[in-house]
Amino acid sequence: MKTAGIIIVLLAGALLLYATRDFPPWGALDSPASTHVSPRYLQKAMEETAVPNVVTAVLADYRGFDTMFETTVIFCAGIGCFILLRVFRQRPGDRYYRHIATEITLHIKGGRIPKKSSEFERIDALWTPYDLIIKTVCRILVPFIQLFALYVIAHGHHSPGGGFQGGVILGASVILLAISHNMRTAIDRFSEKTNNLLMAIGVFIYTGIGTVCILLGAGFLDYRSLSAVLFVDKIMARSHGIFGVEIGVGITVMAVMISIYNNLASAGKQDEGL
């Protein structure tokens, strides 16, 4: 396998290297890539969409259809991880509980699963006493991270960022909670059902905005027609349409990141993880 690998790799590399001979020099201003299609985006994006960040404008408007499928790919990954890993019926294994007042640890082998109570707290089998400093700092930090994520989503028009990055950061905040406390804490605040529903809702918002455009008489994802509903002119309608789409992307990405992490780290049981 190794020699075959080396041969294939060298062959591919040689082919690619051979082709670089014909490339325009790196960073040349007159290369076809920077003279044919892209100048129009730079020149017109501000006029046509009122979005200074050209990447956002191209991402969500000119090539918004690509981005819809990009979100769909993420959604597929979330559903795929769910369907591959999640196990619903689990055999009752060993469980550990702690009496909160006295800090006595109970070990229950198999059998029935005790109900939730305020006096006992369930703890992980691979139990490590969670550290006070890390717990406190992370709990303080999570709201700020979420605030930053919302800023990234909302400010994607003017600065780098947008739905995808903001969604990842939102998801990361919940993942941070799951890592610093334990997975049950995170799932209590953000249940699996909510998560899976949000996953679908986010992409649904994206596709739904596109479909609304059809219903209003323009083409799919042609945000100009939204001006009839939003009471703004056509250019601002594009800008608002981009914003709505970014929100949808953010919701889906957040939910998918959390879902993949939960399923991976708990091997589908969603009770205890990293």
Partner: protein, 107 residues
């Protein structure tokens, strides 16, 4: 004047970074290395970020001030997070049963 302050801040930040790098390479065991990395890195990055924030205020505009404020926020978070992360790693090391280095041991 501002330039001088910025240069001083950046250079002292660099000195602390160098110290951290030397410490990680030269110190004998896990805990001492983390000690170097944790303290020197935090201080070095604080100084550097402060330098950048000040440099940003070169021509004083409202927007520049806002972005400097954001950089100061980063500074704040670094100040909280870097020691916490170091603490977490050391904690994991203690749990994993790493023995601290003593003088009797060979390197």
């Amino acid at each position: 004047m501002l330039n001088v302050i910025v240069i001083v801040l950046l250079i002292s930040g660099l000195i602390f970074y160098t110290g951290a790098a030397v410490g990680i390479l030269r110190l004998p065991d896990f805990y001492t290395r983390l000690h170097a990395a944790g303290k020197m890195d935090t201080l070095g990055s604080l100084l550097m970020v402060l330098g950048v924030a000040l440099f940003n205020l070169h021509d004083f505009l409202w927007t520049q001030f806002i972005s400097s404020l954001k950089i100061v926020l980063i500074l704040l978070f670094l100040f909280i997070l870097s020691p916490t992360a170091t603490h977490g790693i050391v904690d994991a090391g203690v749990r994993a049963g790493l023995k601290p280095w003593t003088k009797e041991q060979k390197k």
